[in-house]
Symmetry: C2
Subunit: 355 residues, 2 copies
C-alpha cells in the first residue's frame, strides 16, 4: 500500500536527515549529545521548537473557535446566499497566495535553495493530491449520510473522528501513545460528545445501520486524510512548510474547481462568481484560509493528536464565547463535557511516555 | 478537634499493633521482611487480604445495585404504605442481630478473647454515635433542601458526595491519592452525573444559592460520616469487625428510635408497627441491612474510595438491569457517562502510587 511505502522510505531517509529534522520527525528530545556546548545548543533548540509548537497550536485553537463563531453569526444573518463551492475554491486560492507571499519573503532573505525552491520532483509531488481527494470523497458522502441522520445527529457522530484519528495515527505513523494517553483520547471523544448533548441527541441512537457505517467510513476518511497529510509534511522535515503548503493547496484548488464546475456551473455562469458574497462571507473565507494554514503548521511542528485537542478546545471556546456574543445558554451537559475534556488534556500531558 | 485526637492516638497505637493490622491501616504491602519464609507468609497474607477486599467490594456493588432495583420495583408497585422510620429502625435492628449471630459463631469457634469480646471501654465506644448523629442531621436537612431543588435535581447534586468524600478522605485520614487518581475521581463524579442526565436536568442550574449551600453541606456531612466511620473501624485493626458493627448499629437503632417516636408515634400507635409492610418492604429491609454490613466491611478491608467506586458502578448496573426488568431505555448520556466512569476506574488502578 502507498502509505506503507512512504513509511519505509521515511525510515531510510531518516538516517541521513539533520538533527533538527530528525527530532521533528520523532518528537522526542535529542539527548544523545554529551559535550556541554552541544547540550546547551540542544536545550535552546528544544525551547525554540516548544515555542513554535505552542504558537501554532494556539493559533489553530483561536482560528477554529472564531470560525465556529462566524458560522453561528452567518447563520443568524440568514441563509447562505453565495455558492459554497466558489467559497471553497477561494479559500484554497487564498491559501496558495499566502504561501507564495511567504515564500517570496523567504527567497528575498535567504535566497533560493534546495529546501525552499518551488520546483519539485514527481516523487515528491505525487502524494500531494491524495489528502485533497480523500476530503472530496468524504464531502460527497456527507450529502448521502443526511438521508439517515439529521444535522445535530451528524454533529454527534462526527466525534468518531477523534477516535479514528488516534487509531490511524498509531497504525500509519507508528507513533506510540501511553495507556494513560489512550484513556485521555477516549475521554476527549466522550467529553466532546457530552458537551454537545441536547434534548434531541437521543434520536441519534435510532440511526439505521447504514448511517453508522457511513459515519464510521467518513471518520476513517477524515482521519486518514489528516494522518496522511502529516506523513507527507514530515517526510521531508527540512523542506520549507510554505512549499509543502503550496503543493497541498494547488491540488485543493484543482479538486474544488472540479466540484464547482460540476455542482454550480449554471449558477456561477448566470449570477456571477461572487454572487451573494457579503462581509461575513469574506471574513469566513479569510478565516478558513488562515485555519487551513494553521492546521498545516500543526502537522509540521506538532501532530494530529495536538490538532484534535486544539479543535476540541476550540469547539468549547466557541460555545462559551457565544454565550456573551449571542446570549446562548450553557447546559449542564456542556459543563460536564468541559470538565471531562479538561481532565483529558491534563492526562494527555501527565501520561507522556518517559524515555 | 475530635478527629485530630483520633488520628494522633492512631499514630501512637500503630507502633504496637501487629503486622496484619498495620498494613490494613496503611494499605501498603509490608515488604520490609527479608527472610524467604517470612516473605512467603507475607505474600500469602497479601493474597488473602486482596481476596477479602475483592469479595466485600463485589458484595457491596451487587447489594447496592439490587437495592436500586428494589426501589424502582417498589415505586412501580405503588406509593410507600409503610412508615419509613419503622423500616429504618428494622434495618438497624437486623444489622445488630446479624452481627450478634456472627459473633456467636466466632465465640463458639475461637472462644472469647480481647479482640472479639462485646464489652468495651468508654474510650472505645464514645466515638460510635457520631456517624449515626451525622447521618441524622443530613437526613433532617434533606426535608428542607426540597424547598429549593426537585427530586431529580437532588439526584444530580448528590454527586457532590463523591468529591467531598475524596477531599475529606485526604484531609482526615491523611491518605494520599496520586494526581492521576484525583483526575479519576473528578471523572467519576462527572461520569456519574452525565449518566443521570435527562431532558429536565438543566433545571438544576437554576437552583438558588441556599440550595447549593445545603447540597454542599449535605455532601460534606455524608462524606464526613463515611470517612469518620472508616477512622473508627481502622483505629483498632485487630478488633473483630462484628463487635465494631454491633456498636455502630446499636447507636443507629437509638437514633432511629428517636426519629420514629418524634415523626411517626401516632401512626405506629394507631395502625401498628408493621402497618403497610409488603413482601417488597421485607426484601428491601433485608437488602439495606446486608448493604450496610457490606459498607462496614469495605471500610475495614478497603476504604471510602473503593466504596464510592463500588456504589457508582452499582448505580450504572441498576440502570442496565432495569432495561431488561422494566423495559427502561438507556440514553446517549448514560452511555457516555458509563464510558467516563469506566475510564475513571481504569485510571484509579493505573495511577496507583508506587512506593
Amino acid at each position: 500500500m502507498e502509505y506503507r511505502k512512504i513509511k519505509d522510505e521515511d525510515e531510510v531517509r531518516d538516517a541521513g536527515v539533520e538533527d533538527v529534522g530528525k527530532s521533528f520527525l520523532l518528537s522526542v528530545p535529542d539527548n544523545d549529545l554529551t559535550s556541554e556546548g552541544e547540550t546547551k545548543i540542544d536545550s535552546h533548540r528544544e525551547k525554540v521548537k516548544w515555542k513554535r509548537k505552542s504558537v501554532v497550536t494556539l493559533a489553530l485553537t483561536v482560528l477554529t473557535s472564531s470560525q465556529g463563531i462566524l458560522i453561528v453569526w452567518s447563520k443568524r444573518a440568514g441563509k447562505y446566499e453565495y455558492s459554497v463551492t466558489t467559497a471553497n475554491f477561494m479559500v484554497e486560492t487564498l491559501k496558495c497566495a499566502i504561501s507564495l507571499v511567504a515564500l517570496g519573503r523567504i527567497w528575498k532573505k535567504d535566497g533560493v535553495n534546495e529546501d525552499n525552491r518551488l520546483t519539485t520532483t514527481l516523487d515528491e509531488v505525487i502524494v500531494y493530491p491524495i489528502p485533497a481527494a480523500l476530503y472530496l470523497v468524504k464531502n460527497l458522502l456527507q450529502y448521502y449520510i443526511f438521508a439517515y441522520v439529521d444535522a445535530p445527529g451528524y454533529q454527534i457522530l462526527k466525534n468518531f473522528n477523534i477516535i479514528s484519528t488516534g487509531v490511524l495515527y498509531r497504525i500509519i505513523l507508528k507513533k506510540r501513545l501511553s495507556e494513560i494517553q489512550w484513556a485521555a483520547f477516549v475521554l476527549l471523544a466522550a467529553g466532546c460528545t457530552t458537551a454537545q448533548l441536547n434534548s434531541n441527541s437521543d434520536r441519534v441512537l435510532q440511526t439505521p445501520f447504514q448511517g453508522w457505517v457511513m459515519a464510521i467510513v467518513m471518520a476513517l476518511l477524515s482521519g486518514f486524510a489528516g494522518v496522511y497529510t502529516e506523513a507527507i509534511i514530515k517526510k521531508r522535515p527540512s523542506r520549507n512548510i510554505n512549499v509543502q503548503n503550496f503543493w497541498l493547496y494547488v491540488f485543493g484548488m484543482c479538486f474544488n474547481a472540479v466540484a464547482m464546475l460540476v455542482q454550480d456551473f449554471d449558477a456561477v455562469m448566470n449570477k456571477g462568481f461572487f454572487h451573494g458574497y457579503s462581509f461575513i462571507t469574506v471574513l469566513m473565507i479569510f478565516n478558513h484560509a488562515l485555519s487551513g494554514i494553521a492546521v498545516s503548521m500543526v502537522m509540521k511542528y506538532a501532530d494530529n493528536i495536538v490538532k484534535v485537542y486544539s479543535t476540541s478546545v476550540a469547539m468549547l471556546l466557541t460555545a462559551v464565547v457565544s454565550v456573551f456574543l449571542f446570549g446562548f445558554h450553557l447546559s449542564l451537559a456542556f459543563f460536564l463535557g468541559t470538565v471531562v475534556v479538561s481532565v483529558a488534556i491534563y492526562l494527555h500531558s501527565a501520561g507522556k511516555i518517559q524515555r
